[in-house]
Point group: C2
Chain length 461, copies 2
């Protein structure tokens, strides 16, 4: 059995040597969208790095040198390098990884259940496991986004165990360094964006600070405690969720008032203290919706109605899929077409442009609302060609998806959809109705090309 | 009677000459906080300018060369100049001003009634008056902040009159150029911030554009119609109202979680897509609260629940005064003091720092909640010394206000309050309780000085 360096027993001044000598072993638990690039970053910095995951397919695929994140290409090269030089390997075995690691970094997802209650079971289960497998004097760092207080009052207590066989601040350290990378831009974000750091004690904080400074060399923001660091992460993300909801509400208002919200926002951004957010068919992805519900979960546990704006924002953002369906229905009625007889083509299902990711994507709800009504739903997304998503077979090319279709719904603003040839599309569609959820279609051109045009926030008269 | 230049009959290429020759006469209706600086700007550019107001005291005072806006000092000098060179005079007479003016600019306030319904009576009354007094071929420009559609569907129709004795787009032009200056910084804002311009037709737009470019020489943002321009103004201001409400909600949450929101926000602002707003005792002033209620008024007229975030934001911002009183009560209870026996000192009553302005100030509600409970309320504000505000006599100096007081409530962050000598203040207070609504007091220092300290969002443990 490999010995650890008992990092938590080290004097702070010794950490520099351990880093320079690459003596530390890192174990990244959860090697998905964020965890794998994190593991690759540590391996690429020269450290022995183990990726631990319960997904046996993923682990086997990685160990067979198959890189699973095509939309994070820079890490693809690093992946090849660190597998070749054997700095990195993946495993499903706790015994093989945790006890032999100096630093355990948790990049586990924090999803939600069907009632939008955050689900920390992965973190809870691992923290209980750590009680059994953690070598004494290790350092545990949580990158996952959790509610303020979760680290102090649940996670750390779980590692200590019911019988306090390990004592936090004595036998092991705990710190947080919330990840803040955007899918599709992870390499850029890892090497550019500031990171928050906090620990349950000075040593946990300082070691984590020095390790992340060494490996990522970005600005680090020192926070006084873990709950404050986690609060920052939620504050910045939920800020975006509520501001998108705000412009979504205005989009619906402006449609009724004959105002184009994209023109309004384009003018508004000239104001020095205004920050632009764009309306759309809803807010998806692994972060923003969950983060809002994390705050609401904290409020629920405290009791009382405090976070009414966040609650309203979630409702408004979630309503947008229904609003898109309303725009479709209104357009069909204007042309006297029964939705039951109509073919509706969805362009784009990713939750945001130019990524291959449908986590909590608004397209899912739009499709599920439409499939109760429309005769046929066709899906085309350049990132999901000829596959099955949301129980629908996706199309291989856009033309097939639009042939004889009645309604084109542009849901995701992938680059490929920014230069649509409207004249050509109109020719192959049966009833050319165009619904633009992203404000990227020139409505005048669309109308000139013969489309019935509607869009989110497009209240032109 | 002076002839007008029939500006609306002019060819666009002639306007340049009229501007260069200073041949145009401007009438500014409403010469208050924004209207007077506007009038002074036109007069200072060399144009004969008349300020029309129903406030006879104000008009007399201006014509006696008494400058009424001490916190806008740059315009004080311009005031002296343009009164001396007779480019500017004030009047209460419609007959003397409107018929002889080429361009009528409305800077009338748009307040609210007791039910928070926007009150456009000043604009409505003036627009009906314009039907009678406007010379044909004049241009009417509205700077007041109104709901989208008000110009097209109410204001312009009023000028035309029930019998259509004047026709918009034929006998007169109408445009908007919403003011966007901050009280206390009006000269800076007039000469730096971009302005929105829109008209009911191309001519109204173009003339207004050229006039404002000539007089103010700032970036002008062309909008396709008046309602869109007014929508931009409301969008940018209400953005701030909802974001302040968001951090106010978080402030209350973080107090319960043992988190200091000021530390969180200071860290959060490192995130490239986060914009900081600060919590406080509520949002006051002549703009933000009214602007939110203007949107809600539009929604009410349309029917349906669209703007739930704005509604929630108003509630949360208005709740903050009660929250401040709760902090006071909790502190008093902790020290076993009956509020009925307590003296409470309010520092700062202006709605924002360093201005002499109590319009819709949160201090008003705080004081009215406290006066039902406390034995004595003392008010000190450097901008309101020895006067009467909210039916209270204000104090002449801070020491007198704090002598034997039980609670110091720092409501407005005037510069004078940023360097309080806590040691000295503690000595003269009876029960030194300090409530900081602005996050400017170092809580550790306050506690070391012997204060019981609480503050909005100060959940330190």
């Amino acid at each position: 059995m490999l010995e650890t360096n008992n990092i938590y027993l080290q004097k702070p001044e010794n950490l520099g040597n351990l880093l320079r000598d690459k003596s530390l072993t890192f174990c990244i638990i959860g090697i998905g969208r964020v965890g794998l690039p994190t593991a690759l970053s540590f391996a690429n910095a020269g450290f022995q790095t183990i990726g631990l995951d319960i997904n046996t397919d993923l682990v086997e695929s990685i160990n067979s040198k198959k890189y699973p994140l095509p939309d994070e290409p820079v890490f693809g090269k690093i992946f090849d390098t660190v597998l070749s030089n054997k700095k990195f390997r993946a495993t499903t075995s706790l015994e093989e990884s945790i006890p032999h690691s100096d630093v355990i970094i948790l990049c586990l997802p924090t999803p939600m259940d069907d009632e939008n209650i955050p689900d920390y079971s992965a973190l809870e289960s691992v923290s209980k496991t750590l009680n059994k497998f953690l070598s004494k004097n290790s350092l545990v760092i949580v990158e996952s986004t959790v509610e303020p207080g979760f680290i102090e009052y649940e996670f750390t207590t779980n590692i200590e165990g019911e019988n306090k066989t390990l004592l936090a601040g004595k036998d092991f350290g705990v710190a947080v360094c919330p990840e803040n990378a955007n899918p599709g831009e992870i390499y850029h974000d890892f090497t550019n964006l500031p990171r928050l750091v906090a620990g349950i004690d000075e040593k946990s904080f300082q070691f984590t600070h020095d390790i992340y400074k060494y490996v990522f060399n970005v600005k680090l923001i020192d926070m006084p405690n873990c709950r404050s660091a986690n609060a920052v992460k939620l504050t910045t993300n939920v800020f975006r969720d509520i501001n998108i909801a705000f412009v979504n509400e205005l989009a619906i208002l402006y449609e009724k008032l004959g105002i184009d919200i994209w023109t309004v926002l384009d003018a508004a951004k000239n104001k020095y203290n205004f920050q632009i957010h764009l309306p759309g068919p809803g807010v998806g992805g692994p972060c923003l919706p969950v983060n809002s519900y994390q705050f609401l979960n904290t409020e629920r546990k405290l009791g009382g109605n405090i976070l009414n704006i966040i609650r309203a924002a979630r409702k408004s953002n979630e309503y947008m899929s229904q609003h898109v369906v309303n725009l479709i229905n209104t357009s069909l009625k204007e042309k006297n077409i029964n939705i039951e007889d109509s073919i509706i083509t969805i362009l784009g299902i990713s939750y945001k442009p130019n990524v291959s990711d449908v986590q909590i994507a608004p397209s899912k709800k739009i499709i599920s609302l439409l499939e109760k009504q429309a005769s046929e739903i066709r899906i085309y997304d350049p990132f999901f060609k000829s596959t099955n998503v949301f129980s629908h077979n996706t199309m291989k090319n856009m033309n097939d998806a639009l042939m004889n279709s009645d309604v084109l719904v542009l849901v995701t603003g992938h680059d490929e959809f920014r230069e649509l040839d409207l004249e050509e599309i109109r020719k192959i569609m049966k009833n050319p109705i165009l619904i633009d959820c992203q404000g990227i279609i020139d409505s005048k051109k669309a109308k000139l090309s013969g489309f019935t045009f509607k869009g989110i926030g497009r209240g032109e008269v």
